[in-house]
């Protein structure tokens, strides 16, 4: 197909999708010129392009619409409902012609004489009898086979590709030379980083702002209001929340269903509303936000609320419940009855919301994608639906941990802190028989993940507690091992697993292994914890244990600190004993080769004697090149876990602010792993 035509079509399809909302808003507030201007601009642009591309039929229609809009702009025509209806009809026809053009490359045969005549009459101020033009929903535009991507993202992807090529070439060279693989680890690290970055980038091209969904809804509401003789206003929030395209497609229908239901059953007629001392215009609000690993969409109306008595009666009639059982249902449970297939409280089955097929379809649509919906209703006040959908194909930061021999992943947003327990670290205490951890004076209830999931106990002394944020309270999750933080692609679990509270999804890890994503709220619920299980701290000493810390300086501007327990020795070695081998620095230390690193990249070495902090975690050692030791103090410190690599966070130590480093991070680097193999 002609390239110019193609460009015209993609641009136009996008603009047309956005125009419906503008139209409805404009009708509501005709004095507001911004919407009018954008509609006019669109029609004007289409008309212009048609002349250029030789599309006479479309041009004639666009011209007729433009004339009407032009007269409104210059004040010679008033905005009336019939005028807006005809413009909407014209836009619909334009949409269908554009769609047809997209498929065949040529204009469909025929003309729009009738519509054009009506538009001309309106332009001349002649009233036109309103006939609902045929075409129910407004033409559905073909879901676009192209996407728009920010240029910056594409550039980032290009840069990453270049790095990939470079790294590949380096590896190729090494393979050809048959050299020994000292730097293999480093190259592979680089390669992994590049691949992750690419993955991330490509994933992000699929993300769309959820505001795109909002475009069709005002129009639907307008039609519903007109058909039902009601006045309805729809408001939106959270337009910028980003969601994967696939997700958008899947929640489009549920939202439309809910809008129909709210308009039909929820919002009262203007007369009823006035009698109930409400505003004449009913209000529906749709608000999107992101909470942890989910997108939350709140759909609320200020209508009459669900008729719980009728729901209970219908449930009994449909044989779903006995009368006694129906009476015993709490209001919340009764409200949930609307999600059952076959229950419709409409006294007449209207063409609008149909035979009670609405809400159960919403429920199952959401369940299929790993989401959920809740309802809250107050008689005479309104109804609120809360939809939750997982951030599918979104990338989140997550901490990889192990318990009972299985690996799991915890979303970083839910992780407040990491605490080591066991002989070296903090101790688990018991209040009655509930295990707790004393954390800066407060007592944190603990949940043993392996025990909760009925996995074998690892039986090791040294374990870890992930201080997790559940809804409204904190608790500690005991795991056996902590690994690193990874950027992971969240995938929802299959419906067969969706009932398991413990999991919020599953994921492929960097090494190809699979891990379940833990739902910290679900785990708390399984363990019987809730915001109300407060553990009262004992009145006794709330003083946290003091630790010895080594304060030191490198070329970094901050004062640095490391727990003395992680330091094997403080050394000063002759600079000559440090050898550069294949891009890294090694030293003969106590009969073995030890790597020497800088905390933030290649170390700055002193010319004659190099001070070193030798760190050790009970396995191998690593030497950190430093400038000098400042002090060794005993103090307590209040740490906020910081996902940035190598640092536990900032703390006030010995009266000064220092950055506490995490020796485990440096000991776990590939540099050391290679040393162990050697």
């Amino acid at each position: 197909m002609d390239e110019l035509l193609n460009d015209f079509l993609s641009e136009t399809v996008e603009s047309l999708a956005a125009i419906d909302e503008a139209l409805v808003r404009w009708e509501r507030n005709p004095a507001d010129r911004t919407h009018l201007d954008s509609i006019f601009r669109l029609v004007h642009t289409i008309k212009g392009a048609c002349g250029f591309l030789d599309l006479p039929r479309l041009e004639a229609l666009a011209h007729a619409a433009e004339t009407v809009l032009g007269r409104v702009r210059d004040g010679s025509l008033e905005v009336t409902a019939p005028l807006v209806t005809e413009i909407l009809a014209a836009i619909d026809v334009i949409k269908s012609m554009v769609a047809s053009l997209g498929q065949t490359g040529v204009e469909p045969p025929g003309d729009n004489a009738v519509l054009i005549t009506r538009l001309e009459r309106i332009a001349n101020g002649i009233a036109v009898a309103s006939e609902e033009t045929a075409g129910d929903e407004g033409v559905q535009l073909q879901s676009n086979q192209t996407i728009r991507v920010p240029l910056a993202l594409v550039e980032r992807l290009m840069d990453t590709v270049s790095e990939l090529v470079l790294t590949r070439n380096q590896l190729l060279q090494m393979a050809r030379d048959g050299r020994s693989f000292e730097t293999l680890d480093l190259h592979f690290q680089r390669l992994s980083q590049c691949i992750t970055a690419m993955q991330d980038g490509v994933m992000r091209t699929r993300m769309q702002p959820i505001g795109r969904l909002w475009s069709a809804l005002p129009r639907l509401a307008r039609r519903l209001a007109a058909d039902l003789g009601k006045r309805i206003d729809v408001e939106f929030g959270g337009d910028d929340v980003e969601v994967d395209r696939q997700m958008l497609d899947l929640i489009k229908d549920p939202l439309a269903h809910m809008l129909r239901n709210a308009a039909d059953h929820g919002i009262e007629t203007p007369a009823e509303r006035i009698a109930a001392r409400k505003r004449e215009t009913g209000r529906i609000r749709i608000e999107a936000s992101q909470e942890g690993g989910q997108i939350v969409i709140v759909f609320s109306d200020d209508g009459r609320g669900l008729d719980l008595a009728a729901l209970r009666a219908k449930a009994v009639d449909a044989g779903l419940l006995t009368e006694a059982a129906a009476k015993h249902l709490s209001d919340a449970e009764a409200a949930r009855l609307i999600f059952h297939a076959g229950l419709s409280t409409a006294s007449e089955v209207t063409a609008i919301s149909g035979r009670g097929v609405g809400m159960d379809v919403v429920w199952s649509n959401l369940e299929r994608i790993g989401g959920s919906v809740e309802v809250y209703t107050l008689k005479g006040i309104g109804t609120r639906f809360t939809l939750r959908i997982p951030l599918t194909l979104a990338i989140i930061s997550a901490l990889v941990a192990q318990a009972g021999g299985e690996r799991f992943v915890v979303p970083q947003v839910a992780v407040l802190e990491l605490v080591q327990i066991g002989s070296d670290g903090a101790q688990i205490e018991f209040v009655y028989d509930a295990p707790v951890l004393r954390l800066r004076g407060a007592l944190l209830p603990l949940v043993d993940l392996a025990a909760l999931l009925e996995l074998p106990a690892a039986g090791q002394d040294e374990r870890f507690v992930i201080v997790a944020q559940a809804a409204g309270f904190r608790y500690g999750l005991i795991v056996d091992e902590l690994f690193d933080t990874e950027e992971i692609v969240v995938k929802p679990v299959a419906p067969l697993l969706s009932a398991l509270e413990a999991y919020a999804g599953n994921v492929v890890l960097g090494d190809g292994g699979v891990a379940m994503i833990l739902d910290v709220g679900g785990l708390a619920s399984m363990a019987g914890l809730s915001a109300s299980t407060e553990v009262a701290p004992p009145q006794a000493d709330a003083v946290a244990a003091k630790q010895s810390l080594v304060l030191f300086r490198t070329d970094s501007p901050s004062l640095l600190a490391v727990p003395l327990s992680q330091v094997e020795r403080i050394e000063e070695l002759p600079a000559a004993s440090l050898e550069r081998v294949g891009g890294r620095i090694l030293v003969q230390y106590r009969g073995a080769l030890m790597a020497v690193i800088g905390l933030d990249g290649p170390p700055l070495l002193a010319p004659d004697r190099q001070p070193l902090l030798v760190l050790n975690d009970g396995g191998s050692s690593i030497g950190v090149a430093i400038e000098r030791i400042e002090d060794i103090v005993e103090d307590t410190y209040d740490l906020v876990a910081d996902p940035s690599t190598g640092r536990l966070g900032n703390a006030v130590i010995g009266g000064r602010i220092a950055e506490v480093i995490d020796a485990r991070h440096y000991l776990g680097l590939p540099a050391t792993r290679w040393e162990r193999a050697a």
Binding site: R368, I369, E406, R407, K491, L497, G512, M516
Partner: protein
């Protein structure tokens, strides 16, 4: 042709899976367990970056577990926007569907089998052809706590 089915082996019996539902046949890779999941879920696996839920067909159909651990072959199928791997012992050929040789599943089957079966075809052997959607929506799993 629609109706054709792939013969698979589970224990000593041949079963059929409608060919249209078979996306791929693979050797089962490493499967990560899902603690707390019902017995029919063998776990989740990674196949070329895609997460696939593995179904232990023996557990699903009420057969005793294999003596040698999880069976080695899997049929990849799709249901309701998710991918599943039906784990079986062996995979055979695709057999032509012959309606004149087909019968509804016998009423002597247990409830589990009856729910899972589509029809039976008598060739040299008697093959019970399974209903993939029914396999993946077991009746007792509805809205489990």
């Amino acid at each position: 042709m629609t109706g054709d089915f792939l013969v698979v082996g589970l224990g000593d019996r041949p079963l059929g899976i409608p060919a249209m539902r078979v996306r791929k046949v693979v050797r089962l890779p490493a499967v990560t367990r899902v603690p707390g999941a019902p017995a029919m879920i063998a776990g989740v696996m990674n196949l070329r970056g895609q997460l696939i839920t593995a179904i232990d067909m023996r557990a699903r159909l009420g057969l005793p577990p294999a003596s040698h651990g999880l069976a080695p072959m899997a049929i990849i199928t799709e249901h309701s926007h998710h991918l599943y791997a039906l784990v079986v012992d062996s995979v055979g050929d695709v057999v032509r569907s012959r309606p004149e040789r087909q019968e509804p599943p016998p009423s002597t089957l247990t409830a589990t089998w009856r729910q899972a079966a589509l029809f039976v075809q008598r060739d040299e052997a008697l093959v019970l052809v399974l209903d993939v959607d029914a396999i993946l929506t077991p009746p007792d799993l509805a809205r489990a706590a």
